[in-house]
Each structure stands twice: as C-alpha cells, then as structure tokens.
Symmetry: C2
Subunit: 317 residues, 2 copies
Amino acid sequence: MSEFDLIQRHLTGLGCARGDVIVDVGDDCALLQVPADRELAVSIDTLVSGVHFLPETAPEGLGHKSLAVGLSDLAAVGAEPAWATLALTLPEPDEDWLQAFARGFAELARHEDVRLVGGDLTRGPLCISVQVHGFVPKGHALRRSGARPGDLVCVSGALGDAGLALQHVQRGEPLGDYLRQRLERPTPRVTLGEVLRGVATAAIDLSDGLASDLGHILTASGYGARIQLDRLPLADQVAGEVAASSDWSLPLSAGDDYELCFTIPKSHLAELSVLAAAAGCPLTQIGEIESRPGLRWMTAEGHQWHSERTGYDHFAR
Amino acid sequence: MSEFDLIQRHLTGLGCARGDVIVDVGDDCALLQVPADRELAVSIDTLVSGVHFLPETAPEGLGHKSLAVGLSDLAAVGAEPAWATLALTLPEPDEDWLQAFARGFAELARHEDVRLVGGDLTRGPLCISVQVHGFVPKGHALRRSGARPGDLVCVSGALGDAGLALQHVQRGEPLGDYLRQRLERPTPRVTLGEVLRGVATAAIDLSDGLASDLGHILTASGYGARIQLDRLPLADQVAGEVAASSDWSLPLSAGDDYELCFTIPKSHLAELSVLAAAAGCPLTQIGEIESRPGLRWMTAEGHQWHSERTGYDHFAR
C-alpha cells in the first residue's frame, strides 16, 4: 500500500462537502474561495506522541482532538470553521490506525461543517499537525488585546478536567466517562466564539491553563485582573482534588481544557445566561479586569496571592 | 527561555511585511485578507529528520528548504505566494539552531514576498511542517488534469541533481557547490508557474521524481506519454553517472529537484524560449502526450521501455 493509495483510501473526502472548495486532496495545492466580505482566520497546531498524548492513545480520539484544538483557536477569534489540512507523520503504514484516526477526524469535521482539503503523509515518529481555516466578518474578529478595566472575566465549561484525567492515566487509574471525554474528545467552543463577536472585548482559548492564557489577554491588553478562586467552575472530582490538596494547579495551570476565557463589559453581565443558552454551554464570571498589572487570585476567605504565569510550556520543564 | 520567548525572539516578523496581514504571530489565529478576485491556493509539507534530511543537516538550509518545497507546490498551480505557517517540533530549545533555521527561512520568504503569519513550536523528534498560501486568478490555476494528446511535455532546470547530491552525502563524499545548492537550497520555480498560467495545459512539481510526478499528470488527464531519454536536461555529473551505470533512476525517480514538469500545446513550442527568458530558467521539451495510456521511455537508439511509477514513496520501501 503506497503513500498515494493510503491518502486516496483514508484521507480523501473527509468531513463536509463545501461549495467553496474548488480543488481538494489530490493536486499540488487545494484551491479555495474565501467570501469577499470575510477575513481568513488560520491556526496550526501539532500533537506529538509522548508529549501531547501517550503513545498508546486510541487513534479515533486523536483524530478528534487534533482537529478540535485548531477549532478551539478559531472559536477564540469568533471565526466560522471552513477547511482543515493535515500533516501526518506515521512510523508505519498502519491501515487500522489510519482508518480509526480518519473516523474521529471526520466525525468532528462533519459536525462543524469542515472539509479536509489537503495534507501530507510522511514516515517518521508519530506527529500530527493540523491547520484550520475559518471566516470572520472583516474587522470583527475577537482579539486578546481589547480587555478594559472593569470588564468581567468569564470562562466557559469547567476547568481542570483534562489535567485530572491525565493524572489518572499517568497513575494507571481508571478514567470515568466524563473525564475520558474531557481529555480525549474536547469540545471546541465554536458556537460560543461566534456568539461572542461584538460582545466580548477579548478572548482566548484555554490550551495552556487559565493562569497562562488569561496572562496573554492581560499582556496584550496592558492591564491586570483579580480572579475569585471560589467562583471557578469545577467538576466535583476536580473540586475534591483541590479541597484535599489545597493545590489549585489543576484548574489554574493544567491546560488542555479548550474552554474559552473572555472579557465582557459589566453592562453585559445580565446577558451572560442568554449567551450561555445560545452557545449551549455554561458560562461563569470569575473575576474582573483591573488597571493594575498582574494576576491576583482571591481566596474565599479574602486572602490574595499574586501569580507568575504557570501554564504548560514546552521548553520550560 | 520559554516556548513563548523563543517564538517571540526567533519566529516573529519573518519575511516580508504585507498589507494583507491583519494579525500575524501572537494571537490565537492569524487574520488575513484574500483579494476578492483570487482563489486561495494552500499546500502543507513535512520534512522529518532522518527521512527527508540527515539529522546533522545545517539548520539554515533546512529553513530555506522547508519553505521552498511548499513554494514549489504554489508554483505548480501558478499561484503568487503570500503567507506561510510553521509547525516546528524540536528536541531541545536550541537557540543557535532556531536562529539559523529562521535566517534561512526568512531569506527565501523575503525573496518571494512571503510573510510567516503563524505557527506552533513543540518539543519532540525534529519535524518541520510548513503550509504555504498563495493567490491565483479565479478559474486560472494550473492543474494536473488538462494534458491532451499532442501536447509537448517540458521540464524546467535539470533532473537528478538532488538525487546525486544525496548519494554523495550518504557515501560521505564531498559535495561541490552546485550539487550542495541543488540539494539544500532548491529554487522553487515560482515565476515560471505564474508565466505558465494560460499557456500550460497541465503542471506538477518534481518532488518525487519525473516518472512518479509525470505519472500523476497522466493519471489525472487520462492519457499517456512518450519521453525521449536523450532529451532529458542533465548536469554533466548526472549525465556522467547515467552513462557509466546505464541506470536512469537518478533523473527519472530520485526526486527532490523541485523543478516543474508541464505540458503545452504544440502551437506554443516556439514560445518556449520566451517563457524560459521570462521565468529565468532553462526549459526543455522532453516528449509528447499520447492517447495511449502509460509512460514510454525512448532511448536515443529508438528502443522503448515501459515504466511503472517509480518515484519516492514513503510507505513503498
């Protein structure tokens, strides 16, 4: 089975048929049509075996996740997903692996109206790069830089689930359905991102953890924030871990949750539940942007601690 | 030095400043503007250490080559290059390596009016994926599928240089400047690709070797071809190797030359030298498209042999 045959059999025609795809997999380039009134949003992300996932991870979940992390970036700028490309490096031409990977990828792609339009299949240590492409009305993308003092800091979903799931896996402990889903099949908050355009002043997706990613918003916007730890949305298992250990690193810096963190003017506070209903996910106000730079964490007892950025960093550990 | 610092220091602002880049490196997505009368052409390619290049390869050349292979795909569809993204996986945060890589990448990017607009830097076995993005007037991209019987088959530059250079490297023999340049710093035929729009009936870039890549044109177009071996443009060293060994595999299937192979109607034969002058590279007519499927190689003595596709294939060896 050659490289060309493998692509033809497993990686052609994945996802949704789209009228804006003029040529996809099989020529030197894909040829694509961007609507005239839209900007093109692109993001590329890599998952490396042994770094981003354990080598024995089921390929179907990897197919899902490798697309989901990119769609999460599109969500963070409020873009509507359109196309993806895939650079896949595999140690062996394992057809069962490839078929399962493609199934996971295609299922999410169809769900989010995405077409796989091109790629490269090479031999080497397992490594998956996916680039996503989406559209956003000209001048209306969400950015990291628009947060202003007094804005409310909000997050979607729950924090720390993927980090706790990874701990369980690393310890060889069984994973319940909820935590497995959160680690292996994260939900990119695409609808939320689109709903937040024109409402949020800044947004980012939580790939490296709240402390690091909110830190990027603060750096880009030039302000600080105060966060109420007792307001953080935590699943029972994560809340239990935090209570037992008095260690907040799971919800603050474990990463991989792919929720959105965003800021909205206080005047929009009442709309939060309407936005949550439109987006189909819980939204929680967890703190406020302040003029003073830095990130201050407030405990329920009113104590305050200041943090350095402590999210996941590939070259810092 | 963190992942963010490394990106900030070495991978930000590479290449040409462009007015169509609204946001580049540093937000969740790059935001880009495609001209309304253009299609977007995209291609992603991966170079893996130990597969596509030797681990000790100088990083500056890798920076050049990782962009050049993508630009060669844009050339093959006649697109004007615009942007690139980079997914770079590195075993260690080696700043000297990164600086040299970025220098090689940026030099070619500036030369071809390309901006690096985004990327991902991760830890793992050395692996480089680059996606290129370019523009082509609507409906005027070169394709693989337009070759017709009677069309002339042409190639740019010379064939087999990169393959011979790799043989020298693998045997530990010294490389002269010409062969080193051809292996490590291939020239993507971008200008030629643009010049061929409206002239060529089909085109492809020679990444896997003439037999394999011309085979793609024949498959996509539904015809065959007859190629005159004595017409193949060969540098003296390659011609010497072929003469000494009676083995044509260097020019026919070694790959990595990144020349263009294209077909033109016979009526354009006289224009070939004009096209070559406009493109700044030699062009050679090497054969003709025929109705009968298959690829027939004709020796100078008038003998004929038929070939299977024999180019580089990641999973076939």
